[in-house]
């Protein structure tokens, strides 16, 4: 059976779930870094 467009494999990772986790983890990391940045220079 042909793979439907929504089941297309993402680049680099086996499933799209990994990409979603990466984006959310990146946001969390940025917030932590910004928090440290704010504390360091305030």
């Amino acid at each position: 059976m042909a793979i439907g467009p929504e089941e297309e494999k993402p680049p680099l990772f086996p499933t799209w779930g990994y990409w979603y986790v990466l984006v959310i983890a990146w946001l969390a990391l940025l917030i932590i870094l910004f928090y440290l940045f704010t504390k360091t220079y305030s």
Partner: protein, 565 residues
């Protein structure tokens, strides 16, 4: 501006127009005109999404925002990556599977014609008016700073891009946005580098950061919750999430960008990459503003950055009093110059006690300077009650025009035009696609030839371009235009998102319940705005939640009526 600046400005704008016209070839039908034959790779989709969202005001206003209020504005974008994930899971596969031209087509497939027509009409009202205002906002600033005629600036700001947008549709929009962003990022990087370079020789980037931080301009994260505070981490993540989800999921100016992707995979990659790069990008733009703040501690800032406004007050009865305040402000600026040097030296020597003393002294002088400035703003209002006393949008361009070398000034002014063109071109394309697909083809003429629809699509792109310029010519008296655009969005975005949320997640709710729920929620949102009880950012979340609740409440009655009938 110097001759060299004019050459750089005209050459940059001409390159974009010629490039857009060159990319306009080969339009044969509506699919190529509105969807670019769904052939775009993810990186073009990404740049097109960024170019559509980042208007001229983004590059003018954000550094000014950091100058006046610090960098906490970046929190406004924290909900965006989360919204990208939800879009990739829910919206993108459905839009691609149904092969829609506009987001609103989906609503007829899921609900009925009236819900589709209501939602597309809300979009046309909101996007048509806000695009006109988006043309006017940077035009007012440029015409005031450079002495240009406002009407002609509006014509160039909103008019020249019509050439390639009408001719080339979404493909020309996407490719010109790519080139525009390359020029914009290059120019902004140069501007940021120049701010630090123009600081005194003994002040490097690290010292500038330390001084800026001590003056509370690097307040990126604010954890205290306040309903009326626009920029803290809670309103950023929650309010920003709803705003981003409404904007990217239901506003055709954005949906039209990722529908051009060649597959679901390319759409998703474009959106997810936007989730990765948007927050750092805004951080860097705001950092330029924080550095401009440090620059104006070492070099005297004017009491008010809109100098044309100042000049008007000087010619009135309040002129002598204003001159006295300016003189006092300049004395305080000289004192600040000395105090900031003491603070930088103390920080360099890591002498915490001396740094605290110097900071306190500098802060006190700055408070005095702000008090003098407030008195000057009151005088301005006295001289002209209609005067706009908010100069946030003038700060960055004032720095550019008065301090950057010849050539770079022209490039930075060109960047303002390019940023405006990128978002306006996408808006015109989406206004035309919604008018032709959701209104003209669906309600009036559904069986014409592809050539006819292509001709009508180009005509409507032109009509909306003219409409937006006309709105721009009348918008200058509306006060703070960036706020007007945001308020307009908050009136409609939440309700529109609520309709889509019901469509995606509440399968048992039908079109009639959703339609009346949307009408009722819109009325409540407008009443809440009128009552001024909450910051307008929250109206997006409130509108969305109300549609969902009202739809669930109305649905049982609709069913009973149907059964009784």
């Amino acid at each position: 501006m110097s001759s060299l600046d004019w050459v750089v400005l005209i050459a940059t704008l001409a390159i974009i127009i010629l490039y857009g016209v060159w990319k306009s070839r080969g339009q044969q039908n509506m699919e190529s005109y509105f969807l670019g034959n769904q052939s775009m790779p993810w990186y073009i989709v990404l740049l097109s999404i960024i170019g559509t969202q980042a208007s001229a005001i983004t590059f003018i206003s954000a550094p000014g925002q950091a100058y006046t209020d610090g960098m906490r504005f970046v929190q406004y974008y924290f909900g965006l990556p989360l919204a990208m994930v939800v879009l990739c899971i829910t919206f993108v596969p459905i839009f691609h599977k149904l092969k829609v031209y506009t987001a609103y087509e989906f609503l007829e497939k899921r609900f009925d014609l009236k819900t589709r027509t209501l939602t597309s009409s809300l979009f046309l009202i909101q996007r048509g008016l806000s695009t006109g205002i988006s043309i006017c906002a940077p035009s007012i600033i440029l015409s005031s700073l450079l002495g240009w005629n406002l009407y002609w600036t509006n014509m160039i700001m909103g008019g020249l891009l019509i050439i390639y947008t009408v001719a080339g549709g979404t493909r020309a929009v996407a490719y010109t946005q790519t080139l525009q962003l390359a020029i914009i990022f290059g120019g902004m990087f140069l501007a940021g580098w120049m701010v630090v370079h123009l600081l005194p020789a003994d002040i490097g980037f690290k010292q500038a950061l330390q001084v800026s931080g001590k003056m509370e301009k690097l307040n990126v994260i604010v954890t205290k919750f306040d309903w009326n505070d626009k920029y803290n981490i809670w309103s950023g993540v929650i309010g920003g999430f709803f705003l981003a989800l409404s904007y990217f999921g239901t506003d055709q100016s954005q949906v039209g960008r990722y529908l051009t992707a060649r597959s679901v995979k390319e759409s998703r990659m474009g959106l997810l990459m936007n989730g990765l790069v948007k927050v750092p990008m805004q951080f860097l733009i705001l950092l330029i503003g924080a550095m401009v703040f440090v620059f104006y501690l070492y070099f005297r800032a004017p009491i008010f950055f809109n100098e044309a406004q100042l000049a008007r007050v000087r010619g009135t009865a309040q002129g002598p009093a204003l001159e006295q305040l300016e003189s006092r402000y300049n004395q305080l600026a000289t004192r600040k110059q000395q105090q900031v040097k003491e603070l930088a030296t103390a920080l360099e020597q890591e002498d915490a006690a001396a740094a605290a003393t110097a900071k306190k002294a500098l802060q006190q002088t700055d408070d005095q300077a702000q008090a003098v400035r407030s008195a000057a703003l009151s005088l301005m209002k006295e001289a002209d009650p209609a005067a706009d006393t908010n100069d946030t949008n003038y700060i960055f361009l004032h720095f550019v025009v008065n301090n950057l070398p010849k050539g770079l000034v022209g490039l930075l002014i060109a960047i303002i035009f390019l940023a405006a063109w990128g978002s306006i071109a996408a808006a015109l394309n989406s206004l035309a696609s919604t008018t032709v697909i959701d209104i003209y083809q669906r309600l009036y003429n559904g069986h014409a030839s592809p050539e006819h629809y292509l001709k009508v699509s180009k005509l409507w792109t032109l009509i909306w371009g003219v409409f937006c310029i006309v709105v721009a010519q009348f918008a200058s008296g509306l006060g703070s235009l960036i706020e007007v655009v945001n308020v307009l969005g908050s009136w409609f975005y939440g309700v529109t998102l609520g309709i889509f949320m019901v469509a995606f997640y509440l399968k048992r709710v039908g079109g009639t319940a959703t339609f009346w729920a949307a009408i009722a929620a819109e009325a409540v949102v407008l009443a809440m705005y009128g009552a001024e009880k909450v910051s307008f950012l929250w109206l997006n979340a409130i509108g969305c939640v109300l549609v969902v609740i009202f739809a669930l409440m109305i649905q049982p009655f609709v069913k009973q009526k149907t059964i009784a009938g």
